[in-house]
Amino acid sequence: MRTKAIIRLLFTVGVITWLALVITDIYVVFTSSNRISTGMPGWVPNVILDLFILALYYYYKLRYDRDDVLNFLDLLWRVFATGLVATVVSLSIKLVEYLLGSTRLTNDVVFVDLVYLINLGLMIGFLTMAFTAWKRLILYQKSKWLMRLWNLFEWTLLFSLLYNAFDFPFIESLYWGMLTFFVVIGLVLSANMKWVAYLNFRQKWTSLLLLLLTVFYLLYIFLNTSSLVEWLSEKNVDFTNYRLHVFILSLMTFVMVYSIFSFLVILFNLPTTSVFEQKLEEVVNFQRISQSIQTEQNEDSVYNILLETSVSSVFADAAWLEVKTHNPRPRIFTYKITEKESQDIINHLRMNNVKGVLDQGSDKTKNLSKHLSTLKGSRFRSILAFPIHVKGENIGTLALLKELPEGFNREMTKIVATFANQAGISIENFRLMEEALQNERYKEELKIAKMVQKSLLPAILESGPDFEISAFSESADEVGGDYYDALRINDHQIALIIADVSGKGTTAAFHMSQMKGIFHSLAQDCIQPDEFMIKANQALVYCLERGSFISATFFIVDSLRKRIRYARAGHCPLLYYNAPKNKAEYFKDKGIALGMVKNRSYSNYIEANEFEYSPGDIMLLYTDGITEAKNSKGEEFGYERLAEVLLEVREASSKEIQDHLIKRLYEFSGTSNINDDYTTMIVKFAEKFPEAGKG
């Protein structure tokens, strides 16, 4: 907003200074023509002229210098428009003069001076506008050197205003010297025409027209003002002769020179416009291919884009893209050629033992084209072929055809090679993305499996008057399911189970839930442990996959008879601490894991066992994650160490034993990140049993 206010202010200042100039100059002319001595020093009108110039200069600078949205054509239009306005105004005054005829008024010095000053104002306005516009064009592509030169030009021009501000005596050499200086710099700067290349055909024609007219306006205004100056000079009056202003003359020259140069450059660049447009299009197409990965859904779209863009880049008459697939027959994408035709060409080339179809060298291409001409009935005379590489492997060929012989040049070969390359990269990226997505899905699956596993384990464990139970389970990322549970059957019996499911991820989680279901339904009635296993095995036969199995041990703790009945189905042997004997031993029993024998003969492989428990006894149930945990040397935790650790804390509570065991486990393996599921369930029998009959 501030800028806008300043712009308006500058415009106003410009108008005011122009009016002031008019007043002072007319006064000077009047007094001088009437031979009256003026009270005004000679430099006053010059200073006002300078101020006028400065005001206009900064007005245009602020208005157009920061405007980023302006494009080239816009700039030319504005210059043209300003020129048009100036010329029209000037011409209208001329018309008025003409209509008035040769009267005393029209021959009056003051009148002519007024006309002159109007024209001068218009000319300076036009020149300053053009100057700002040309600045934008020249500085379109900046370099340090260019910026420095331009700044030198601009600042010295502005300083030259001072030359006329003070009443310096007119030193001809200085005058011509400065003028030459500015003209030369102006010429050097005018060599910057890079913006011309960015115009398309239509824009170039429009620019030519605009520039031509601009040059005409310039010439007209210059000649008009000059003739007025001539006329006034003849009358021998003092007036503000712009010809003494180095600034205005230099500006004039510069604007004129640049306009003419631009015109000529555009004119001579017309024939090459199509090449530039072509190049631009190639870049856009290249970007399309490389971006096709984000925007397209599948590989096929990449192939189609490659085909399209290659065809348009080289003006091919037809093309095909052959892509290898898992089938013996490759897929073919075609453009303006039938599959049969392309197949014929492929076969023909193959028959002629043309090797190196897939090379990008141009002499191989000549060979191809030569062979092509020997194929009867084919309308094509030139062929260009490229391989498509993904991860170093050749996955297909792109072939372009033309009806003209030798229709492809080096440039075309290069550009299509780039496209083919990029397409290969895009496809590679595409496949990598697919892989990554797959991985993500897999990780999600594992997360769900883990959640399910966690939810199946009991939150609170049963306990009895004789004993307390503590359990701990941790599952590794990819590994299957450990399961443990406890169920109170009646007031003196509790069923316990610990199980290890083979398999990974979601499959293991499902089997774990099946096991839980089986346990909770079968254990409700006081079932014998071997019965339990037989029935469980039968139930699981229908749901376990080929090669999957579940190892489990099932216990019934009877606190009335102080006995434990159990069956071990392929699970790790129970570690039992016998308090009276002060010994820890592993119970070895017969029993195959569930799911291994898929018929009723399983009952031959499982047995039930029973023993009595005493106060202070400890039952340690565990899974193989504990015994198979490895340390840095590759040694396993093992059975002996487990027994030792148990003995260390044989007096402690079940929770303390559990904590101690976990601690020793982590110490041994050196980390708490064990690469398997591991579970413990510890049943500690009280040091003293409550009275019989209760609990």
Partner: protein, 114 residues
Amino acid sequence: MIHIKRLQEDGVDIIALIGEIDASSSIELDLAIAKSVGEGFRKILVDCHSLEYISSAGLGVFLSYIEEFKDQNVSMVLFGMNDKVANTFEILGLNNLLKIAKDKAQAKRMVNEL
């Protein structure tokens, strides 16, 4: 990782397992046995001398062939296991379902029994 070598002796196909069998390498074991059966061998020995470790996936592979072998009348014997691997088989009870021998000689005798 597992390395599998095959050689034939006296009309018997001997598959030697070298290394460890885990979930990913169990597929190779599966393929090796399938190949052997596919080539028509009715007597297969599995040399476990260099087998350091076998996971439940690997055990599952052996397990899955039990039915098939019964149907197709194929006889398979594993031999030369180290203590750890033998223990694993024993705990699971697989020694009741698969034929396990101490050494090659015993294995050859066992495989020729029906």
